[in-house]
Subunit: 387 residues, 2 copies
């Protein structure tokens, strides 16, 4: 097991509460408070938000998508323009995924070999290729602070044999990704990190083997991949319980693509430190708003004359400046300000949730907090039941 000397990337654990932890990921571009939620900036923009507004919600770090950015505007172009941070005006840390998940979910005519994946762009049908080496090259060109290994993301449910074959391929790709990352000449000076991704579907034995294989290679952090692909919440939680104990306790753990607020609470209880998800931004564009009492659908006619704020405890512009009646009106009218305000609110809500989780862990009262959190939510209004 190698242990790369990253002088500028460091995970500082501040407190533990059961399996949960709170801490700080120190990077040259700024600190990331954990548990952390990373807003998704797919195409070099967190949709419907200016970057300073994303920061105002409390976000310490963004996620960028290798797959989208390689297709448009192109990694070499972004590098020529000074890197992704400058391009999208976000000076703080950026984590980039490797493109593995999007290749599987978005592109057409995929052909997977040991070397990598040939596929067609979902934008214009152009023939493209991703491999561990190319995925890390793209992330270097983007200037990513936390780079993810290139992996295969199989669909669930799948057989044990199918998932095992896929996982072992992902582990060979993880090794090649680490080697390619280690050849980036400025990685140490810039304090960049490379994270491995545990695969193995919902099979505990495969998850354990994957976690061990990644630690043989050695990474600055470990992600749990291949979840949030439609499996029930209890399957996700069971998989975390079978995986997290086999990961290093002194390095960050990242659950990719998760999730709903109660998914996040459950995963933090099981030892996860980092999250990303399009739900707050996508829901905001669909007229849905998260609150600590559950989610609201602003399209609902019951809000047409509601002079109350969306969430009286929230400090975002949607809640400070407008009524539910106004939000209902602009959602129904299809106005862009509806997407802007509800996205801002939802990202603020997610950051408030993370802050409450961090405080509860720091004060060793996470279990009680999580129980009260679940009680306060009204299941009928839960986002999962919205039309």
């Amino acid at each position: 097991m190698t242990s790369p000397a990253m002088t500028n990337f460091r995970f500082e654990l501040l407190a533990r509460d059961g399996a949960a932890r709170t801490g700080i990921i120190h990077t040259p571009r700024g600190d990331v408070r954990t548990p952390a939620f990373m807003p998704v900036g797919t195409a070099a923009t967190v949709k419907a938000m200016l970057p300073q507004s994303v920061r105002e919600t409390g976000a310490d770090i963004l996620l960028g998508n290798t797959y989208h950015l390689m297709l448009r505007p192109g990694a070499e172009r972004i590098a020529h323009l000074g890197g992704l941070h400058k391009f999208m005006d976000w000076a703080r840390p950026i984590l980039t995924d490797s493109g593995g998940f999007q290749v599987m979910s978005l592109s057409a005519l995929r052909k997977i070999t040991e070397e990598g994946v040939k596929f067609q762009s979902h934008i214009d049908g152009h023939a493209e290729f991703l491999s561990p080496e190319r995925a890390m090259e793209i992330q270097r060109l983007l200037g990513s602070d936390i780079q993810m290994v290139f992996d295969e993301c199989p669909a669930l449910p799948a057989t044990h044999a199918g998932i095992e074959k896929s996982m072992t391929l992902s582990m060979r790709w993880a090794k090649r990704s680490r080697t390619a990352f280690d050849q980036q000449t400025d990685r140490e000076r810039l304090g960049r990190a490379c994270f491995g991704i545990v695969q193995g579907g919902t099979f505990a034995d495969l998850r354990r083997r994957s976690a061990e294989a990644l630690q043989e290679i050695g990474f600055e952090g470990y992600a749990v991949g291949g979840l949030a692909v439609g499996e029930p919440q209890n399957a996700m939680f069971e998989t975390l319980e079978a995986t997290v104990p086999h990961l290093p306790s002194d390095q960050p753990r990242y659950l990719m693509g998760v999730g709903k607020p109660d998914d996040i609470v459950g995963a933090v209880l099981r030892g996860i430190d980092m999250f990303d998800c399009v739900l707050p931004t996508r829901s905001g564009r669909n007229g849905q708003a998260f609150t600590f009492e559950g989610a609201l659908n602003l399209k609902n006619a019951r809000f047409a004359d509601d002079a109350a704020p969306l969430d009286a405890d929230c400090g975002c512009p949607a809640c400070r400046q407008f009524s539910r009646a106004y939000l209902h009106h602009v959602v129904k009218s299809g106005e862009i300000i509806a997407a802007m305000l509800l996205t801002w609110h939802n990202l603020t809500h997610y950051q408030r949730l993370m802050e409450k989780l961090r405080q509860a862990i720091a004060e060793s009262r996470l279990t009680q907090w999580a129980a009260a959190y679940r009680t306060a939510r009204q299941p009928a209004d839960n986002i999962s039941t919205l039309p």
Copy 2:
């Protein structure tokens, strides 16, 4: 000629330069520097902008649309929620049109009688009715600071007889609008104003008769309506030259629905004080940006690698924080931030234009400034020639 005693609404002329003037419209909700450009907030939002951002561009006053707001969310509802200013979080002055123009341009199955206009909502086909009395009632319910008389807007070109018949109807409606406005019990306390609208197409004799008829009634300001409906620019300018000399010199003059930047410059040279137009906002949503050298289409591939700011002299977020290459990318990707940034830029550009006009008038150099302005613009890139 009546001269309503409006203690709180007052037009202060600061300087004249030829036919052009600069001044301040004082209202209880704040001052409006003239010549003024009013961003259009059709459905209780300036599209793709938060209200504080609209103010940051330099706007002193917004325009709201009676037609749109009466259909959705409804004038009585907005009144119940505290008025349009509170509803949309804009504490400064709001001018509302009377719905006359939109009834003609947007609704179906119009039936015009002496009493008013029956029409079908363009949203849901609902049967609706607007009259001078109802239009002023709606504007009162909205809490509008400057209320426009209800008028008929005939399509151009039209015969002299057709325009004359329409104009004389509009003058009878103007009288009824003024009477209805005068019955608003709190109009004086709130410093509200009512503006007449000159009609008469491109016929100088009808414009003069209309201007005189309105002054017989007496208003706090006078608008020129029925233009910006597709006529050539020189026809618009000739109509202004035939109209403005017949309007009071000590009250504001408002050219409705205009226009392109060089339309505005030409109209200011001919004595107009106020403007509104959807062009900066609509163009922003279509990837077009105004500069003092002409308009740019950010969709153009020549911007894909352009690291320069959109306009180095502009202080808006699009110009301060991003490159043309980024704006090209987000326009091509259909990202909401493209509409947000380019709308912000275009509204900023329009306000910068108005500020330059005000300064040039104050310093008695408008003619020279306008000549230099026209020279600097590159006709090939003019917005009117954009695809």
